[in-house]
């Protein structure tokens, strides 16, 4: 009788170890995926000053728009610095800041339509290609991150793993959503 009990306890411990490791593995995966977003967002932010100074040369009277972009960029960079991966609050704040930045950048793209000289500038075209690429990378890494978060949450919330997750204080991770869908659609396609 004791042997049976001992066996059951042993199996239970084994199960706890396996499930715990699974949770840790999935948490590492989504945190790593967030690092990828962090890298691409940094690239996006680093591009902005160059973009603004290039546009400034052609569109001197658009100071307001350009200041808006710089401000949005600084705010987004601040959020990126403070962000704790997966935390609901900071994901929301980062998503909003990036959304504002995306809209402000959309304003620059729209503005470039009014300045043919700017659109024809080789440096501006190169910049546009870099920006298009970074936007695609941000989108791809965000999709990748959201998928890993979904997988982690699925493991976390299914019974009976959810009991374990509670015991070891694993918390639900948040996806990153940008509020800038129109802005991206508004961005003109640059064709070479």
């Amino acid at each position: 009788m004791e042997w049976v009990l001992l066996g059951i306890v042993g199996l239970l411990i084994l199960y706890v170890i396996i499930e715990y490791n699974k949770l840790v593995r999935h948490r590492n995966i989504f945190q790593n995926a967030f690092k990828q977003i962090d890298v691409t967002l940094k690239q996006r932010h680093d591009m902005i000053p160059q973009l603004v100074s290039t546009v400034k040369g052609y569109a001197k009277h658009e100071q307001e728009t350009l200041d808006g972009v710089i401000e949005a960029r600084n705010q987004a960079e601040k959020m990126r610095d403070q962000t704790d991966s997966g935390d609901a609050k900071s994901m929301l704040a980062l998503g909003q800041a990036e959304g504002v930045l995306g809209k402000a950048m959309g304003g620059i793209f729209a503005l470039s339509e009014a300045y043919p000289d700017l659109k024809a500038d080789g440096a501006f075209r190169d910049l546009m290609e870099q920006l298009t690429s970074i936007e695609n990378k941000v989108a791809a890494s965000r999709r990748g991150y959201n998928n890993t978060v979904l997988e982690y949450n699925n493991v976390l919330e299914t019974f009976p793993t959810n009991i374990l997750a509670n015991m070891f204080s694993f918390t639900r991770a948040s996806e990153l959503e940008f509020d800038d869908r129109e802005a991206i659609q508004d961005a003109p396609k640059v064709e070479f």
Binding site: E129, T132, N136, G144, K189, F192
Partner: protein, 340 residues
């Protein structure tokens, strides 16, 4: 054909690819069994008399079957090892040039950016990037036996004639080949074909040594002939199977590319431009090396090899899988204009 979702397309292609591989292994086993039977089955008594008494020497049967299988396997492995799985080496051998620094060419920069974007989307590491210069047609290939040593190459024509979305679709198609380990599968199939060709060589040797009128010479002669016939037949069947597997893998890669980019129209657009070029007879390869590697390319070089030995599905069918209503008679092929 009704509209098929890319997911279904992928599932179907996977199932059929598996079926092909099973068939291939089955035919190798069959060949080994036939040769072994020829060697081990003996008519006792006078074979001229009608007293049929069939004796099977099972030990000999097992020995010969194992021998035939070993010859096939060893030759295959040898071929696979010598062909090598390093994507960069394959790309260089095919006349592609490595680009790993900033070139200042906006088209090349765009291509490099696209490769990085798709790599991120497919979550595999960025492969080595190559261009096939002086090649005005639209084509591309991926090489390498795994994601670690993969290389991707596109022609200069693909850079100038495709727009950003279309080039992204083509690159995503090649990434799907890398991710699905199609290069490795293809390498193995080529290895197997060489293994079967080795039977032909062994058969030739047996024919020569068997014709010396020794005891049991007739049987050795018979085995020699069987080896030659089965080796040739097997290699021919192998080529047909290789082509069939390759065709399915192309559909699969198209479906996966659509999944990565979410844009079937761009891939269809790239294929249509290839169709338009082919009609003008302008999508041939200038490099002879490329002609040999036609099974690896994004699009078939010519329509000479249609049917069973064709390594790619017909272009129109590939387009229709992405854009169900397409009919070249009604919609026509697009005008090709140089982007730069």
């Amino acid at each position: 054909m009704a509209a098929t979702s890319s997911y279904q397309l992928g599932a179907n292609a996977r199932k059929q690819s598996r079926l092909m591989m099973t068939l291939f292994i089955f035919s190798v086993a069959l060949i080994a069994a036939v040769i072994a039977a020829l060697a081990s089955v003996r008519m006792t008594g006078d074979s001229i008399n009608q007293t049929e008494q069939i004796m099977v020497n099972w030990q000999l049967f097992g020995l010969v079957a194992a021998g035939v299988a070993t010859v096939i396997v060893l030759t295959s492995v040898w071929k696979i090892v010598t062909m090598g799985g390093d994507g960069a080496k394959v790309a260089q051998a095919l006349g592609a040039t490595d680009i790993n620094e900033i070139t200042g060419d906006p088209l090349v920069t765009r291509y490099q950016n696209i490769v990085e974007e798709v790599a991120l989307g497919a979550s595999i590491q960025t492969p080595q990037i190559f261009i096939i210069e002086n090649e005005p047609g639209i084509n591309a290939f991926a090489a390498g036996s795994s994601a670690d040593n993969a290389a991707i190459a596109v022609t200069r024509g693909a850079l100038t004639l495709l727009n950003r979305d279309e080039l992204t679709a083509v690159v995503a198609h090649e990434f799907a080949h890398i991710r699905n380990l199609d290069m490795r599968l293809n390498l193995r199939v080529i290895g197997l074909i060489h293994g079967l060709m080795a039977l032909y060589v062994v058969g030739r040797i047996l024919m020569h040594s068997g014709g010396r009128g020794r005891k049991g010479g007739a049987q050795i002669l018979l085995i020699g002939i069987a080896l030659i016939l089965l080796g040739l037949l097997g290699a021919f069947m192998g080529k047909i199977m290789q082509a069939a597997i390759s065709r399915q893998r192309e559909y699969l890669a198209d479906a996966d590319a659509t999944r990565y980019t979410g844009d079937p129209i761009a891939l269809a657009g790239a294929l249509k431009k290839i169709g338009a070029l082919s009609l003008q007879g302008a999508n041939k390869a200038k490099h002879d090396e490329l002609e040999e590697a036609r099974h690896m390319l994004f699009a078939e070089l010519s329509n000479k090899m249609s049917g069973m030995l064709s390594t790619h599905p017909p272009l129109v069918k590939r387009i229709q899988a992405l854009e169900p209503g397409f009919d070249p008679e009604i919609n026509g092929w697009p005008e090709i204009e140089n982007a730069q």
